[in-house]
Amino acid sequence: MALTDKDLIHLAKLARINLSKEELEAFSRQLDDILSYIDKLKTLDLSNVEPTTHALQIKNVFRNDLVKESLSQDEALKNAPRKEKNSFKVPKIIE
């Protein structure tokens, strides 16, 4: 299947990645190649097969909800590119 420019722009929006026109064109060609290859999967009969999400079938790993030592505020903020008053700083979210 071929992806249209509209599809790609929609995907870029979903993935939150800003792309140049050149990048979009190159990806469009390469993704078409990859998608036509993975279409081979459609030749398998999978109607009675259960999905495997994990190699070890672990379910519901619980732990006690205890207060433990964790990162200090200083440590947690240390790598932040922008911060103010002990908080992460980001552009305006609500108009």
Binding site: A12, L19, L31, I38, T52, T53, V61, R82
Partner: protein
Amino acid sequence: MENFDITNLTAHEILEKKLDTALVCKKLKEHISQVDNKVKAYISFEDTQKNGLPIAIKDNICVKGELTTCASKILQGFRPPYNATVIEKLAKANIIPFGKVNMDEFAFGSSCENSCYFPTHNPWDLERVPGGSSGGSAAAVASGLAIWALGSDTGGSIRQPASFCGVVGLKPTYGRVSRFGLIAFASSLDQIGPITKDVADAALLLNVISGYDPNDSTSANIAVEDFTKSLVNNVEGIRIGIPKEYFLPGIDTEVKKNIFEAIELLRKKGAIIKDINLPHTEYAVEIYYIIATAEASSNLGRFDGVRFGKQAEGKSMIEMVANTRGLGFGNEVKRRIFLGTFVLSHGYYDAYYKNALKARTLVKNDFDKAFDEVDCIITPTSPTPAFRIGEKLNDPLSMYLSDICTINVNLAGIPAMSLPCGFTKQGLPIGLQIMAKAFNEEVIFKTAYSYEQSTTWHKQKPKIE
């Protein structure tokens, strides 16, 4: 005591001969300053005063206070506030991180060319790739720039570079080693493992890093045996399966010849060789690139320029995040996030993602059935020896196909090792892959050690000029 050759030195020799680790570190530093400008295995190297047995660490494993960037611009300058569990375990065994080594950005790649810094070169032929994504780890060990190293393997990222560089690489069973502090790529596939100069060091390192960790809910809560007890030169009665699906016409003739010679050697030593079938092998690449990219597109959502890394300009939060990711991620990362976003998106989820999960069951069933008949399976690690730098860079599909022998192991969650089994006429290393049932690394160690005892491939070292 001062008279040792750093390029051949293994960790078990350092321990057996009780070598002075400060002296080992000093010699290692000298060797790095002479050779690494050609191999370019290291990204960052911090001259710590800590003393211990040195180990090179792939740049996607968190070392407290030391640069950990996944070879990505988006994480430049990131110094983790905590250690990965494997780093804590190493410290308890007096093994210290000695530099961060190169990789494909976020472990996406099979050549180490997708690093935001520079490509690493194969020490056997500097014009060729070391493999990937743990290319820096494998190239460093092969050229004696590291005694041993940690890598990570999502679809072959430990084994394929080990095969290209002529060293030993082990992907442990899924759940054997904690991934806490490993920057996630595809969480249902990722595993940390050793890259070493011989099989004994791989056993030693797996002993140190294995075990249950409450910080990784997917780590298996089972006892860890002493893997060095499996270093026994005896394969008598071990049943080895040879799947014909891994010896297709596309395979390099020299690779095929060497693998069959290795199988013959094991047969002469008393192993029982059986032909087996793994009929869904041909779907591996399709299944893997759907599941791995879907999980990656979700895992990489955390790189938004807020808590770590670089933050780009933007009038709104959404614009800032899109700009940060557009500028910070390299091409292959964007391509895979795109593919992953697509297979998870409305209207395509069932046809791609859900079907890939079902097909994964068929791959797993193939292995379950095979292991009813045999104790381990032998295949090539890669259908070809190391390719040239730049050869596959603009053809992602052909790059993906180079993983064909390794990715099913991750889909099934089983352990597998690559070990040296010869060289091509041009002098490029060839890797032999041994797979076993989940939590059955012992039979891999036993088979690999027995083979290694009868060969000298692992003792040959590249001349770097």
